[in-house]
């Protein structure tokens, strides 16, 4: 039995179906991310877990008990709000102690627990400050400490890092993961930032239009997206539409209008439709001046596309190229800058061969 089981939960606002018959299991101690574009229903789902919204149908089981109708202040679940929602009239200490006082904890125990939480989020010395005397990063820590103080079974985090700048966000991601490992609390985070979700979460649930479209580890989500929409939503990808021309021992031959005939390894479950898209991530496309010899045999069939480099974007760690094929289609390739001197660089206007193996391609139904 998972710690949290969401069963056929639906919620509408007027005619808008925010969450549509969604089911999901979250295990104890897991760091789970709900990822999706804005308006996909992820925040509504989180608010139903917190108790701020009541599902129209379905059940939410926490440790086997249905909490769908339980009021927020009676749930063993806490939430960290996107805008932090710190009480402006209370000090850092009183903000953290707020939930403990409501739980009727003894005064002495409250002091101990607050000190423990303050140390946990490294806010020592700031206990007497009011929220408006803190920086954005410090406020974020107070919010985290306050939501963890009651030792909830599940901590819900609504875009917890959205208000921080990039550098701070990256270091805070690490701290959140470390904290989650140390406490063993189940974290459910809502984010629209796929990098954030992939960095922190053990599993990611991708939502679109109120439905869960894929639940997978970050690696599987990226390397084996369940649909064309997910492939495009998570990371960059080149897509070529075509028809399955032949099928032979797990190898498909797809004829495309833009990139000619491509060899693709078939994944499980096999595609059933004839109209498909061949997808290849930019970092799996290699560039070379001449076509590589295909001496590696049939097991690693190589697709070669000839074209002209049109754009070169140097990004520090990687350089991304756009290669225009004779059909007019554009292939994006990104190559790691592993050497300081640009021995591997290609220039705009140069004729190149963009190549990739059949195993690196994905075939997705259109």
């Amino acid at each position: 039995m998972p710690l949290l089981r969401i069963e056929g939960v639906a919620k509408s606002f007027g005619n808008f179906r925010a969450v549509d018959k969604l089911s999901l299991d979250i295990r104890a101690g897991e760091f789970f991310a709900l990822l999706g574009p804005s308006g996909c229903g992820k925040t509504t789902l989180l608010r139903m877990l917190a108790g701020f919204e009541t599902p129209d149908e379905g059940r939410i089981l926490l440790g086997g008990n249905d909490i769908a109708q339980v009021l927020p202040h009676e749930r063993p679940v806490n939430m960290m709000f996107q805008n932090y929602a710190l009480f402006p009239h209370l000090s850092v200490r009183d903000n953290i102690a707020f939930g403990l006082r409501r739980a009727g904890m003894a005064r002495k125990d409250i002091a101990t627990r607050v000190a423990e939480m303050v140390a946990l989020v490294k806010l020592e010395g700031l206990e007497k400050r009011k929220p408006d005397q803190l920086s954005g990063g410090q406020r974020q820590r107070v919010a985290l400490a306050r939501s963890l103080a009651r030792r909830p079974q599940v901590l819900l985090l609504d875009e917890p890092l959205a208000a921080l700048d990039k550098k701070l966000r990256e270091s805070t991601q690490g701290e959140l993961m470390e904290l989650q490992r140390r406490l063993g609390t189940t974290f459910v985070i809502v984010t629209h930032d796929q990098e954030e979700a992939m960095t922190m979460a053990g599993r990611i649930g991708v939502m679109d239009a109120g439905r869960l479209v894929q639940v997978a580890t970050p690696r599987n989500l990226y390397e084996a997206p369940a649909s064309r929409w997910i492939a495009e939503f998570v990371g960059d990808i080149n897509l070529f539409n075509g028809q399955v021309a032949a099928r032979d021992h797990g190898r498909l031959t797809v004829s495309t209008t833009e990139a000619g005939t491509l060899a693709v390894s078939e994944l499980w479950p096999p595609v059933t439709k004839v109209a498909v898209s061949v997808a290849i991530r930019p970092e799996k496309v290699k560039l070379s001046r001449r076509a590589p010899a295909s001496d590696e045999g049939a097991s690693r069939a190589i697709n070669r596309l000839e074209g002209v480099v049109t754009d070169v974007n140097y990004l520090g760690g990687v350089t991304s190229y756009r290669v225009k094929l004779e059909s007019g289609a554009v292939v994006r390739a990104s190559m790691a800058n592993t050497a300081r001197l640009d021995v591997d660089a290609y220039l705009a206007g140069q004729r190149v061969v963009a190549w990739f193996t059949a195993d690196d391609c994905l075939v997705l139904e259109q």
């Binding site: 701020f52 202040h73 939430m79 709000f81 805008n83 929602a85 009480f87 939930g99 739980a103 939501s147």
Partner: protein
């Protein structure tokens, strides 16, 4: 020439305008009142001495100055008519402000929780009475409260009372009039504070185990205190000096300071004593005015 230079001059002139207004319409008249309060009553036109005559040279001016006295202020302390009036004014103002808070807070709270478009409607309903003259509305209350007025007719018709009740010329009628007239001044600042309250704070309180009632007392109420302060002072200060409502609705047994002032000025024709009473009233009102100003400033800073 920089843009700053171009705008500097008119901006500075505009900044002077309120001070100019204060000097012309407050400080200069107050100087007159202060001067009269230090004079003696006389059967003359105007009814006090000394009168400064700027045509008779410096010696005469000095003589006039020498005649100024604090007798009138002494009278204010020695005759308990004045002290009683001040006390009554304070009691009436404090009581009315408390009643206004008790009635105004729930109304403002309810308004702030209405859906957005209904809030505008509710706001209109609060403001609409201002479209009718204040005096006419008080006279309307006289009509309702008098011996054969609407209220008594209704009570008799419903057999709640067997004989007409005396409503008019009582303290209850006065409080009714004051609360009715000042309610918008209490509701509007309260509503302004309450409607700005971040709804996620209440959700956070609930999430942390506070029942809706606890969330109100631990979060909403403390955060609305600036509005409570502003509303209370906005009502308290003018009620202390209120003249029309007690004069029309209250009995004549005890007077508020505004009424005493009026009597001294127009019935007794004792301008110096009336002026002294006015000056004393102003001095009494300075501390709450300063407090109001400070609260307002703090609220502005908090809103930033």
């Amino acid at each position: 020439m920089s843009a700053r230079r171009i705008f500097a001059r008119p901006a500075r002139l505009a900044a002077i305008a309120p001070y100019l207004w204060m000097v012309l319409f407050f400080l200069v008249p107050f100087g007159f009142v202060l001067k009269i309060s230090l004079s003696q009553t006389a059967i003359a036109q105007p009814p006090y001495t000394p009168v400064f005559d700027f045509t008779e040279g410096r010696a005469a001016l000095a003589a006039a100055f020498a005649q100024l006295s604090f007798d009138n202020f002494h009278l204010l302390i020695s005759d308990n008519l004045y002290i009683l009036s001040y006390l009554r004014s304070l009691v009436v103002a404090v009581t009315s402000t408390l009643i206004l808070l008790l009635i105004g807070y729930p109304i403002a709270y309810g308004m702030a929780r209405l859906p957005q478009r209904w809030q505008a409607v509710a706001m209109m309903l609060v403001i609409v009475p201002f479209w009718t003259s204040f005096l006419i509305r008080i006279y309307a209350w006289i009509n309702i409260l008098q011996h054969d007025g609407l209220l008594n007719q209704m009570l008799l018709a419903l057999h709640i009372v067997s004989a007409p009740v005396v409503w008019l010329s009582t303290d209850s009628a006065m409080y009714l009039g004051i609360v009715y007239s000042y309610l918008p001044f209490m509701i509007l600042p309260l509503y302004a504070t309450l409607s700005k309250l971040d709804a996620s704070l209440l959700e956070a309180a609930g999430d942390l185990g506070a029942s809706p009632r606890q969330a109100f007392w631990l979060v909403t109420f403390p955060l609305s205190l600036p509005g409570v302060g502003a509303g209370a002072l906005l009502c308290f200060i003018p009620i202390v000096g209120e003249f029309v409502i007690p004069d029309l609705l209250a009995g004549s047994s005890s007077l508020m300071i505004g009424q005493t002032l009026w009597l001294e000025f127009f019935t007794n024709k004792d301008w110096p004593v009336a002026s002294a009473a006015a000056v004393a009233l102003l001095l009494l009102l300075v501390p709450p005015l300063v407090l109001y100003d400070r609260l307002q400033r703090r609220q502005l800073e908090a809103g930033r």
